[in-house]
Symmetry: C2
Subunit: 244 residues, 2 copies
């Protein structure tokens, strides 16, 4: 026998799952090695535990919406997409990491709450910016092929607005196109047209602007010294900038 036996794809899946499990374990090992400040019962440990569970819940909401989205009520599509980005992305990418750093440095709970007022809307705006770029971005700048999010069937807030606001026949078209692995350039262009004409792109941009404003206002209210304030402001600007 010359090649490998059985199904190489199944082997690859299994090896990838184990690699992920190993990385999940090692991330926790590294965190535990921090020592007493990350020990059982500390604020940092509580944040770490919540963060890890919430990202899995968010990931589940994401894959659920990919398969169930087309048969769920269209009116709820935006709220469902917001839940997904909150748990899968904003809490995991900005809110909890900032709180974790604060907790490890001994920040009191009032300051940690203040951080959330900044980091949660920032993370949501960041993810929505990323989702807009995934459909309308220049592949030269973003580094990923335009339309890949559509081919994956990702139910972003942008998609939610489109499903909700487009005429029924165009919403049906979107449902058919989302998750189609061989989506062509013409189809992607047509999806873009629908998203623009029904006002979904505009609604998403408005929401990004609103969330960004809320984040920056909360940032200015934080009792921070100049250096951390400027650093957080620069990070926040990079996160929601329109370029890439």
């Amino acid at each position: 026998m010359n090649g490998w036996a059985l199904d190489s794809g199944r082997f690859g899946d299994a090896a990838a799952i184990l690699t992920g499990d190993l990385c999940l374990s090692f991330s926790e090992e590294s965190f535990t090695e921090i020592g007493p400040r990350a020990a059982a019962g500390t604020p940092a440990r509580r944040i770490f535990n919540v963060m890890r569970a919430e990202v899995m819940a968010g990931q589940y909401l994401d894959i659920l919406e990919e398969v169930a989205g087309p048969v769920r009520d269209r009116a709820g599509s935006v709220e469902r997409a917001k839940s997904i980005i909150r748990y899968k992305s904003a809490k995991y990418s900005t809110e909890h990491p900032l709180a974790l750093g604060g907790a490890l440095a001994g920040a009191p709970s009032g300051l940690l709450n203040g951080y959330s007022g900044f980091s949660l809307p920032l993370g949501e705006a960041f993810q929505m910016r990323d989702d807009v770029l995934g459909v309308f971005g220049d592949p030269e700048t973003t580094g990923k092929p335009a339309g890949d999010d559509l081919r994956e069937g990702k139910r972003t807030v942008l998609v939610g607005f489109a499903i909700n606001q487009a005429p029924p026949s165009e919403a049906d078209f979107l449902d058919r196109m989302l998750g189609k692995p061989d989506l062509g350039e013409d189809e992607v262009a047509e999806i873009r047209r629908v998203m623009i004409e029904c006002g979904a792109l505009e609604a998403t941009e408005s929401l990004i602007a609103e969330l960004s404003d809320r984040a920056f206002e909360a940032l200015e209210r934080l009792p921070l010294e100049d250096v951390p304030l400027v650093a957080l402001r620069q990070l926040a600007e990079a996160a929601v900038s329109r370029a890439a």
Copy 2:
């Protein structure tokens, strides 16, 4: 649209992976809640970390051998199968759990090493007993259909001996049959015949007996009081008994 969109099998796989990740996280949360005795740098934490990494390594060796076994050298099939059961099963099911209990109760390192001398061969014998029952056991007693391990393509020590000791044409036959999902009763019976005639079943039983003896001898050398000694002896006997 009436049913769910996209691939329900893919959704099920993804949901199962997330559920597994969540369970892996929760197991670590529970362990951490033990508090100072399981904190960073303690013997218990070291055992926990090693256990978690090793079972994933063992699982990887297992799936690797399922796909690569048929093209690897037959002479090494027994040693590879032994590595798999050591890391995937014996260390995870008996050696590390016993050491973990000992470490949490404050056992000195000498006693922990003594535990390993008992629990590692016991765990290996236990897994090999399980593997023999998976092919030769009575489904009424074992509760699992005979031959399912063969349909899955599990490369057990029993299979390793058979691949190694059977005439080449019969070893080729085994390679073709292992991992065949629709393996029939006749084929399972023929595999059993090959395993008996080439001496693989006998070699496996000898190894189980040798490992069991080594475990029980090591148990009697442990400086334990009557109650834990009797309890461990009963557990060990249940683990390697021939019945189920």
